[in-house]
Symmetry: C2
Subunit: 351 residues, 2 copies
Amino acid sequence: SCSSNLIRATLFPGDGIGPEIAESVKKVFSAADVPIEWEEHFVGTEVDPRTQSFVTWESLESVRRNKVGLKGPMATPIGKGHRSLNLTLRKELNLYANVRPCYSLPGYKTRYDDVNLVTIRENTEGEYSGLEHQVVRGVVESLKIITRQASLRVAEYAFYYAKTHGRKRVSAVHKANIMQKTDGLFLKCCREVAEKYPEIKYEEVVIDNCCMMLVKNPTLFDVLVMPNLYGDIISDLCAGLIGGLGLTPSLNIGEGGIALAEAVHGSAPDIAGKVSIKDISSLKHLKCNLANPTALLLSAVSMLHHLDLTDKADMIQDAVLKTIAEGKYRTGDLGGSATTTEFTKAIIGHL
Amino acid sequence: SCSSNLIRATLFPGDGIGPEIAESVKKVFSAADVPIEWEEHFVGTEVDPRTQSFVTWESLESVRRNKVGLKGPMATPIGKGHRSLNLTLRKELNLYANVRPCYSLPGYKTRYDDVNLVTIRENTEGEYSGLEHQVVRGVVESLKIITRQASLRVAEYAFYYAKTHGRKRVSAVHKANIMQKTDGLFLKCCREVAEKYPEIKYEEVVIDNCCMMLVKNPTLFDVLVMPNLYGDIISDLCAGLIGGLGLTPSLNIGEGGIALAEAVHGSAPDIAGKVSIKDISSLKHLKCNLANPTALLLSAVSMLHHLDLTDKADMIQDAVLKTIAEGKYRTGDLGGSATTTEFTKAIIGHL
Ligand SMILES: CC(C)[C@H](C(=O)O)[C@@H](O)C(=O)O
Ligand SMILES: CC(C)[C@H](C(=O)O)[C@@H](O)C(=O)O
């Protein structure tokens, strides 16, 4: 089945509901005749000394080789002496930009109905340096590191993204009135890059004010670019505007042309593999589930865009959005009672 | 006029629209027979070497003596060699907790209609340490400092506040999954204090998730307590839910029983002292303005609560809320066309 026309992509189904929503993506991709061959990798059962985490070295090699992958949720096993799975992937694959398009889903009502923005988060440094220590008893400090290299890199990507996606404005989010050196350097880099894109409007907005404006009127923003922690906060806030992390795609851009799409919601072990009452009574499915695969499907769509498989991307995105808009087959988190299988079938029906 | 029955309070009218909204507070207080005598202090015209800022030493002494004050917006003059006015006040007066009650204003419609929470922000350390330096060219770092002393102090205040204000739950906002030492210490202190308040439910919520939950359903929260920067972000986000900083009161609690109420919005130099067309044509007022004094009035109400002048506090708050709810005399920022003077008069009419 491995023909030379197929693009190989790494698939991390992840844990919890991960395998169930990954199954949905595989089904939809195959129904849509997407020329992708999955190379599946699971989280290891013990710490791999080469990665210091449960992420196996082989799986990293797979992404490095394929340059493209899709990842379900991974819960970091509790215990000492290993790194968070998500952070391991970011560090080892140098996933420097986390891109999250965030738009209101037609027919799925929230308090906001015209959200259409993209958050681009620096994903490797800042408050995530891991450098912390106790100065004296009762006094601890964490280091926030900002480098010119990483700031330029993510700023470049943000403007490149804006330009190639027909976006008109890039807003750099910061707190340089307080952190003049770190956030100041970040802004300086954004300004340098902005000069090379005169057709894109560039502006700066303080994070506290940004959050206030986002909840008052998110249409004020187009592309937002920011250091790591602000990106963590603002991307989740934005997801909340349109319904939550179960609905928002995410794509990580890494050095060397790597792109790893990712559902950023949790692995929801409480519903993973659960059979709904409906299914038990009808006994139609041996294994069916309650999870919503939308975030992973739309992340897979981001991956297809990245691969320039625009037709397939649009076709799948349309089918997902139509299924949600129609409202007949929604999963429980969206107030419906469809199983993952039923929801997936409905999407395939709309392809 | 200085009788021993009067409580002396320091008043910083501030700059920009500050004097105009302070005037509104003075009028309302006097109409409501509030037993307060104001001791007015203005920002200096040059840097006071004892404070290293435009805040004068005398004004700080006034707050220290009176233990209570009210502050309008202060824009930090541009230039080197001095500290931000707001930060100077926080540091010099050891204003360790910033308390912002945030509730939907009856009759003033936003996307949210049942917000009722309080954010309590650690106000002296964390990301605001001011400690930053360049490691090598292109690499800068900022230090976030968390101490046991300041964390316990703000946690104590949060639980004390919850208990004395009939609140049921305190949520500590953090990012201890990433900053295990700093935010970890903050949480540890919150947990210690929580044990002393078994009647108050205690929970912990990661900041990104907190922001998402706040925009989806703010009624999930009651009292939120957090380190400095998270407080900065979340308190502005919450203000956005109910209409913006022009509507939200703020009270700073300092060591030694000091309380400094404060309007946290900007000084809006663009509308300060402006006369609306209406006023020009009627020529009724020599000086009238467009600013909304609500945030300063409600901050003054917080100050009265702090002084246990509950009746006066309730009376003024009711009058402000009634005036806004009625909608006849709203200032421009709320979509109305009333001047500050007219709005203030309407409030006095409702006392
Ligand atoms: C789980 C956590 C470490 C992670 C982060 O903070 O980056 C998550 O919030 C995310 O946004 O992917
Ligand atoms: C003006 C700025 C320094 C200040 C802060 O960050 O604390 C402001 O945002 C606030 O919340 O009072």
